[in-house]
Amino acid sequence: MNYKALLILNRYKGGIVGVFLLLFLVTITIYTLLNIPSSERAEWNNPSYWINYPKNAAPFWTNYFMGIFDQKLPEHTIFTMNDAALKNYSEGTDYKIENRTFVYDYDFQTFPPAFSIPYSIQVGEIPPAVEISIKRPDGAAFVIYYNSLESTYTGIESQNRANETEEIQFNDEPLFENQNRTSKDDPTTNIASQRLFSSSREISESLSEYTNSFDFPIRGLPAEKIIFSDTKNNVPLQGKYEFIFSTYSFDDDTKVKDIQWIIEGKVHGLMGTDEFRRDISFGIMIGTPVAMFIGITVAITSTMIGLFYGLISGYKGGRTGGFMVIIIDIFLSVPTMVLFIILSLNYGKSLLFLIGLFILFGWPGLALINRTFSIQIKNYPYVEASKLMGESDFRIVLRHIVPQLIPFTMANFALSVPAAILGEAALSFLGFGDPSFPTWGQMLQDAHFSSAEILGYWWWIIPPGLMIAITSMAFILIGRSLESKAKLDKKR
């Protein structure tokens, strides 16, 4: 018995691998649908959603390999307000100083690509002053930013001001998701929000005062290459850095709402990030249900149409059947890829349209196969017998022919899923995908447009394509083993 089971296992090895791949995909689909709400799914194209992420970062696990060669790349680090290691608070006669210190242990061989400091402060009647300084491991301390905020702030105004002075793109999106701006009219809750970038002019101006501390010219160097640099050569200085954010406030209403220190890294996340700071694993996860939906919808519909069309044309025969075959031939003699491009160019970029296209050109091949079978089965003695007994054609087809074709239809179904998924990926790659959510083809298109191949961003190219390959592989393996099973059944 056990031996027999092993034999069966051996025969359908491919099918079992396919089922495991399918289970893997179904797990991702369910996980995505449960854990990522649909509102978040639409954020893929929203740049401000991704602003805290690094640009073109490799997956974090590459550092395990790079660590062997002592070439670790800086990791993306975000310090939130709760991470402030040290809080001290001193009070003068008419002012208060609040210090928040973030300790960052830096032990990488390369400079971080950038950093940014978003903060928001609730401003009272007298506006506070903000100072940002850095204590380096060699004992030097730099003040990189000092600004006294202006009075009568609203969040939007301060952002506009930032726009003018610092050449930073801002939109009306809040910098922090949990920021509550409903009570903006209340004068005591004016909130000044700003995001300082390492490229901000104010930072580079403050840094230019420390020219004498370095043995090499720092003029024109980006801020992160000065701050994290050794004083003798322009190489990274390892050790404990302290970032200090101080506010000088003059009344009781002034409160720091939120601060973050974002030190952009070159590695982040399971699959890295892309040119637009988007997390690639997020796109992969959202792409899974979309691909499954496309594949399965197209496969079910086109298999059904193909089955019944083929059955009818084979069973009817004669002139009607001949005419139906001519229609199939017309569909088959069209170069589909070219036609798909021309149609989606003219009639829009919606997912349902693409699905319709794949159904329209997916059924003729299946219909042709089913037609041959139905001609064969039509001439079986028992079918002819039931015909003589006066059963209606409809009943004969449904009761005698369709059940015979079920194994093959299942195999056809499985084999036509990958065609739709590959087709959708190719069309999305050309830019005809539905832009409202990411698909794997679109991710590859973005990669190609950003020249990811030439710049060597392999983490942006491999995962989407691999997912396409895995999905179609799963269905091909299952389809093949179903097909061989159907053939075996027939021999018996």
Binding site: G14, S333, V334, P335, T336, M337, V338, L339, I341, I342, L345, P418, L422, A425, A426, F429, L430, G431, L444, A447, H448, A452, E453, I454, L455, G456, W458, I461, I462, P464, G465, I468, A469, I470, T471, S472, M473, I476, L477, R480
Partner: protein, 319 residues
């Protein structure tokens, strides 16, 4: 379409007006504009553009233009000589597409026949499974993604081949052919790699079926060496199916060529088509679709004819 005509009429009129003093006798600018509008209306009337799309005049006109291969002018693209005619553009790019895709299809089928017939004779379980697995794998991997991977591998990490396949040397200089072949290598390798496994798989399947037939088995009993049987008899009898594989291979690469050419920046029709789509150059798109379809149908026709030549069984019963 009307915009195109307007552009054409205005450009030809303005050049002839500036040259011909006798025509250029307008009192003011409105009169001149009126004259141009009149000319445009005459053109629209003569082409039947004021009528609905189903009007016979318009359809016959379009059909005539297509039959005489008058595909119009591209809006944004020109050939090396500077002609913007769609025909010239296609004629310039067609040889590149044929060069890459025909040679690689031949290589894929050649590899398939050599290795496939060898494997058919050898009957090795492990190699069989390996080839079958590779074939399923190459069916499920999108060729264009594989191309991107190949570029990352060979152009970024190993730096053997250039990432962009358009040769940097101008076409009329002496080193052009060498440069072209060097730039062609990476796309060629990619297409061969993606296709050879399934080609071997199918060839082996076909040859095994032919070898199983009685007349081939008899040859073995007579004492003809198996190598000779394979080369002289089995391959000959399998040739119709092998031709079908070759044809299907060429046809399927024609469609896929758009993406692969675009990714490698190979200067062929597919790349031109992709750029035309991006720029929304409608005359060029329509012309290229027409040509792709023609090429596709021609390949199918040639395939059918060669098949009937190889295999007398396929000929129709009528003659």
């Amino acid at each position: 379409m009307v915009d195109n005509i307007r552009l054409q009429v205005v450009s030809t009129l303005s050049s002839s007006l500036s040259e011909n003093q006798r025509l250029n006798q307008f009192d003011n600018i409105e009169q001149r504009q009126e004259f141009i509008d009149q000319q445009i209306n005459i053109q629209i009337k003569s082409l039947g553009l004021d009528e609905p799309w189903y009007s016979p005049k318009k359809i016959m006109n379009t059909l005539f233009q297509i039959l005489t291969l008058n595909l119009g002018n591209s809006r944004f693209f020109t050939t090396h000589e500077g002609s913007s005619s769609v025909n010239d553009l296609i004629i310039e790019k067609l040889p590149y597409t044929i060069l890459l895709f025909t040679t690689s299809s031949l290589a894929v089928v050649g590899l398939g026949i050599v290795i496939g017939s060898y494997l058919a004779r050898k009957e090795g379980k492990i190699t069989d499974k390996f080839i079958a697995g590779l074939a399923s794998l190459s069916l499920s991997v999108p060729p264009w993604w594989f191309s991107m991977i190949m570029i990352v591998l060979f152009s970024f990490f190993l730096q053997i081949f250039p990432a962009r396949s358009t040769p940097v040397v101008p076409p009329d200089s002496p080193g052009y052919l060498a440069s072209l072949l060097y730039h062609m290598t990476l796309p060629f390798i990619t297409i061969v790699l993606i296709g050879f496994a399934s080609s071997i798989y199918y060839v082996k399947y076909i040859i095994l079926r032919v070898i199983e037939e009685d007349y081939i088995k008899t040859l073995g009993v007579i004492g003809i060496p198996p190598r000779k049987i394979l080369l002289k008899h089995a391959l000959k009898n399998a040739s119709p199916q092998l031709t079908t594989i070759l044809g299907i291979g060429i046809i399927s690469t024609l469609g896929g060529s758009i993406l692969i050419e675009e990714i490698f920046d190979w200067p062929g029709m597919g790349n031109l088509f992709y750029n035309a789509i991006i720029q929304n150059d409608s005359p060029l798109i329509i012309g290229l679709v027409y040509f792709f379809t023609l090429l596709y149908l021609a390949t199918r026709l040639v395939l059918d004819l060669t098949l009937s030549m190889f295999d007398p069984r396929i000929r129709t019963e009528d003659n």
